[in-house]
């Protein structure tokens, strides 16, 4: 098989990978914020639920979660297609790590900020959304960036439940053409490029969000 053909087949797989990332990333972000905030501020029963979710998804492996959702849920009468299973499993998995990022970043905001907003008679929600969160968001970006790259890497697991992502295409091409060196080499480079592009985007976001916070010396 020509090198160009290999690359074009792999590109189709890469598009599927990007689609999964594009769907799982928002889910993971929502889970991270919802359960991160619940863990911090909600009353006891909700807090327990959040802790169970977080510990469960962080304590077991992503591949087992994926298999469980794909193979076991149908026994409970919930049949979902492979793509949904992939997005749900990866979103919940990365989201559970994200909760700790949200929590850590909020707790890292200096206490004086909290006290000052109490002194200024801000309501609880004003305090969180207008004072604490804008500062915490900047702290969250670098670890969230790492998690986003973890997500890109974790999408390779979906090839094991027969989704035609980059890894799946590579494996089936390798099985038929036996040009394993070129194929897996190209795939590794593809993933590397995706991660680097994502990282570039995250650096920009960090720069944008830290505007006006007076970080890193003088701000204009």
């Amino acid at each position: 098989m020509e090198f160009g053909e290999i690359v074009s087949v792999l590109l189709q797989g890469a598009i599927v990978t990007i689609k999964i990332v594009a769907m799982a990333l928002p889910l993971a972000t929502i889970m991270a914020f919802v359960f991160g905030l619940v863990r911090l501020y909600a009353p006891a029963p909700f807090k327990q639920v959040a802790i169970v979710y977080i510990e469960f998804f962080r304590g077991t492996s992503a591949l087992i979660q994926l298999y469980w959702i794909y193979f076991v849920l149908p026994f409970f009468g919930i049949t979902i297609d492979a793509m949904t299973a992939a997005v749900v499993a990866l979103g919940l998995n990365i989201g559970s790590y994200g909760t700790e990022v949200v929590r850590g970043a909020i707790q890292a905001v200096p206490k004086g900020q909290y006290e000052a907003s109490v002194a200024l008679n801000f309501t609880a929600s004003q305090r969180l959304w207008r004072v604490i969160m804008p500062q915490a968001l900047v702290n969250m970006i670098p670890p969230f960036g790492n998690l986003a790259i973890e997500l890109v890497k974790a999408t390779s697991l979906v090839s094991l439940i027969t989704i035609g992502d980059l890894t799946f295409k590579a494996k089936s091409l390798a099985d038929t053409t036996l040009q394993v060196g070129e194929i897996f080499g190209v795939v590794l480079v593809f993933y590397f490029v995706m991660a680097q592009v994502l990282m570039l985007f995250i650096k920009r976001l960090e720069k944008y969000l830290s505007k006006g916070l007076g970080r890193g010396g003088f701000s204009s």
């Binding site: 510990e55 469960f56 304590g59 077991t60 492996s61 992503a62 591949l63 087992i64 979660q65 298999y67 469980w68 193979f71 076991v72 026994f75 409970f76 009468g77 790259i149 890109v152 890497k153 974790a154 999408t155 390779s156 697991l157 090839s159 094991l160 890894t167 590579a170 494996k171 390798a174 394993v180 060196g181 897996f184 080499g185 795939v187 590794l188 993933y191 590397f192 991660a195 680097q196 990282m199």
Partner: protein
């Protein structure tokens, strides 16, 4: 085949098989962590090399390993290495892949651990005319190890949780065993749930173990002699 009800008889039937596969999982994790620690140390020391070329190339190698999926690296090693005349068993491939992948992560831990040693320690070693090897072995590493334990432990637990990916190259570890049991009996509920719970239990125990090791580790470091 109504899988809604948990079948305890079936659970007790499959538990011994899964536990026997757990040995393979644990062996892969153990060998993988030893290899990862060695690789991590090699990467970390190379990043401190005097040659700029070595430093930059090791930086990009580590970056590349860290930002590509472990599963693809496993496939790469399993299918591409034989082209160069190196055929390895699934277990050896798995250990090699895990070691390389987590070695890249650990190199950052080790690097910051070594960087955390006060400058005066280096200067004193130089003043005492210790060779570079003696400096690392007797002065730097004994002090650097304790602060590195928590992060290293977390990565080893993370590695443990990635061992199911070795099922993709037919290594008969826990998940592969559960999958085989599941497809033979058309019941996935019990085997997969058991494997998930075992992972949870092992991770919690391991996290506790690492905490204990850190706590009991002598604060002043220890001699590597």
């Amino acid at each position: 085949m109504n899988g809604f009800d948990w079948d305890w008889a079936f659970t007790w039937d499959v538990l011994p098989m899964i536990l026997s596969a757990a040995k393979v999982t644990l062996l892969a994790t153990l060998l993988g962590s030893i290899f990862a620690i060695i690789m991590g140390l090699v990467f970390a020391l190379l990043r401190r090399s005097k040659s700029r070329l070595t430093r930059t190339s090791v930086y990009w190698i580590v970056e590349f390993i860290r930002s590509t999926p472990l599963l693809v690296q496993i496939f790469f090693l399993y299918y591409v290495m034989p082209e160069f005349g190196i055929s390895m068993s699934p277990l050896a491939t798995g250990v090699f892949a895990l070691g390389l992948h987590y070695g890249a992560y650990l190199s950052e831990v080790f690097r910051s651990g070594i960087d955390g040693i006060e400058k005066g320690q280096w200067e004193a070693s130089r003043a005492l005319n210790l060779s570079i090897i003696d400096t690392y072995r007797d002065i730097v590493l004994p002090q650097a190890i304790r602060p590195m334990i928590p992060a290293t432990g977390n990565y080893i637990i993370a590695m443990f949780k990635e061992t199911p990916q070795l099922s993709a190259i037919t290594l008969l570890e826990m998940l592969q065993m559960a999958k085989i049991i599941g497809s033979e009996n058309f019941r996935y509920l019990e085997p997969f749930t058991l494997v998930g719970l075992l992972y949870l239990v092992f991770s919690i125990v391991a996290a506790y173990g690492i905490y204990q090791i850190e706590k009991r580790f002598p604060k002043e470091g220890f001699s590597l002699k």
